[in-house]
């Protein structure tokens, strides 16, 4: 049985924990660097990415997390988690914010606007089968540019053009929306499959 760590600094980590357990894997909350040992995969949940970055810095988690991602360990970021995994972000607070990096994309924070513009919709995701999948976007970011090594899994209508809402690169998965707020387990199943069969990363 694989063990999935959920970064539990702030945000919707309990929801991810419940979904991982429903799929029969073990889930543990991660708040300190030493808790990264013995994990097979890591989920960085939704929440406020600035808060997570600041708390991670204060408890010396930033470098261990960077090393974790760099070493090719399976990692999934949802919403705020996707922002943290991005190599580049725009629309940050004054003075910028702490990013982990590792995912060769440019993310626009709060691309879709404020809460009044938060929305749910149905996405077509070929990697997850025929049936459309419900997706909840909360003050969501979008990927506005992605490197050649990044596989686009889903797009969504943005301001005048489609933007990227889900990607995979090596053992990194990133979604701009929140599968943990729905009852559909397919995204979590996809991540667990990535954890069970990680690709070799140079």
């Amino acid at each position: 049985m694989v063990t999935i760590g959920i970064l539990a600094l702030q945000g919707a980590f309990v929801e991810h924990e419940a979904m991982v357990r429903r799929l029969g894997a073990q889930a543990v909350q991660v708040r300190k660097p030493e808790q990264l040992a013995d994990l097979d995969g890591l989920i960085i949940p939704g929440g406020e990415s600035t808060t997570m970055g600041l708390v991670a810095e204060r408890w010396g988690l930033v470098e261990p997390l960077r090393a974790w991602v760099r070493s090719g360990k399976p990692t999934w970021g949802t919403c705020a988690g996707m922002i943290m995994l991005a190599d580049r972000a725009t629309g940050q607070k004054e003075g910028g914010q702490t990013l982990l990096g590792g995912l060769d994309v440019t993310v626009n924070r709060n691309y879709f606007g404020r809460q009044n513009e938060s929305f749910e919709t149905w996405l077509r995701v070929p990697a997850l089968g025929e049936a459309p999948i419900r997706a909840v976007f909360i003050r969501a970011p979008a990927i506005v540019a992605a490197g050649a090594g990044v596989e686009v899994l889903a797009t969504v209508p943005g301001r005048g053009e489609d933007v990227i809402a889900a990607v995979r690169q090596g053992n990194i998965l990133a979604t701009a929306f929140h599968p943990e707020l729905t009852d559909d387990l397919r995204w979590h199943a996809l991540f667990l499959a990535m954890v069970e069969n990680p690709v070799a990363v140079a």
Partner: protein, 310 residues
């Protein structure tokens, strides 16, 4: 745990199956705020300090509750210009307060683009019988509650997030503890009831049966539940987290203290590490003077904000 999926969805449908303002979307933002601290701020400068300290959202208002208490008079929605300046100043969500029952203040706040409206007893109530019909809005609402019945009545009216009322502006945690314990106790009671008893208990709570039953099934409130009212120290925040709330509002406690930056940061850390006494000891050190507290017993009935709301 999927709190939103079992509750009524009343969204606005538009083209391309993009649905805004649904209950799932409203509850969703509250879920993202969990494990975080929402701080009262009265200027853009304070909002930046709060963001820098790790606040997961700020509450924009003209006067913190301690000053509302001191000044007396009618407390109303804040000046839209100030709210706009705060929205401009930070990237984190911005909340603002409307008076109980004042749907026009709430409409104005929605038009300004605030991310959450707090229908708050800290302001002077505008309606002594009716709360705002929150289903009619795209913007989500948070409401205060002292007990399970009050919480479920607010959820019935469309609140997507609940907080304890506490006694705002006192720096005294006792009322927030009372409200959290009262809600928790009632939830444990309903979990042990059969259907016949639930019917009778719902009547006693003055709450809709369906929501009482849902609460019993979930073993918690059907929406995110924060602590508010009287949080002044990291230990206060951790206490509320150990009592089972999902996060903490801090009103006067930060910017009425000696060293707001340091205290704000410490309270943020306390909410993440609420179960780690070693870390709590470390971050509680040398924070300077907290806000001056008020003993609730010395407040007259008219000064008790928690009693507002029905």
């Amino acid at each position: 745990m999927n709190e939103a999926s079992k509750l009524p969805v009343n969204g606005t449908h538009s083209n391309n199956d993009i649905i805004t303002g649904s209950f799932a979307v409203k509850v969703g933002l509250a879920q993202m705020l969990k494990g975080g601290v929402i701080m009262d701020v009265v200027t853009a400068e304070q909002a930046r300090i709060a963001e820098e300290a790790g606040a997961c959202a700020v509450m924009a208002l003209e006067r913190v509750p301690a000053d509302i208490r001191k000044d007396g008079g009618v407390a109303r929605m804040s000046d839209p210009r100030m709210i706009k300046e705060i929205i401009e100043a930070v990237t984190i969500p911005v909340m603002a307060k409307a008076r109980i029952g004042h749907m026009v203040e709430a409409q104005i706040l929605q038009a300004l683009g605030v991310d959450y409206v707090d229908e708050s007893e800290v302001l002077t109530p505008a309606d002594e019988e009716h709360h705002i019909n929150k289903h009619k809005f795209t913007v989500p609402f948070v409401c205060g509650a002292r007990d399970l019945g009050e919480a479920l009545r607010r959820i019935m009216e469309g609140a997507a997030m609940i907080r304890t009322k506490g006694e705002a502006g006192t720096g005294n945690i006792v009322e927030a503890v009372r409200h959290a314990r009262t809600v928790n106790g009632a939830i444990r009671q309903v979990q042990n009831m059969d259907e016949d008893e639930l019917f009778a208990f719902a009547k006693e709570l003055r709450a809709p049966y369906a929501l009482v039953k849902l609460t019993a099934e979930l073993g918690r409130l059907p929406v995110v539940n924060f602590a508010a009212g009287g949080v002044a120290t990291p230990a206060d925040a951790a206490l509320m987290m150990q009592l089972g709330v999902d996060g903490v509002f801090v009103g006067s406690g930060i910017f009425k203290s000696d060293n707001p930056e340091k205290r704000a940061r410490a309270i943020v850390m306390a909410v993440t590490h609420y179960n780690d006494a070693q870390i709590l000891a470390e971050i509680s050190e040398d924070l300077g003077e907290p806000m001056v507290g008020i003993n609730i017993d010395t407040l007259g009935d008219a000064e008790r904000m928690a009693a507002r709301g029905w």
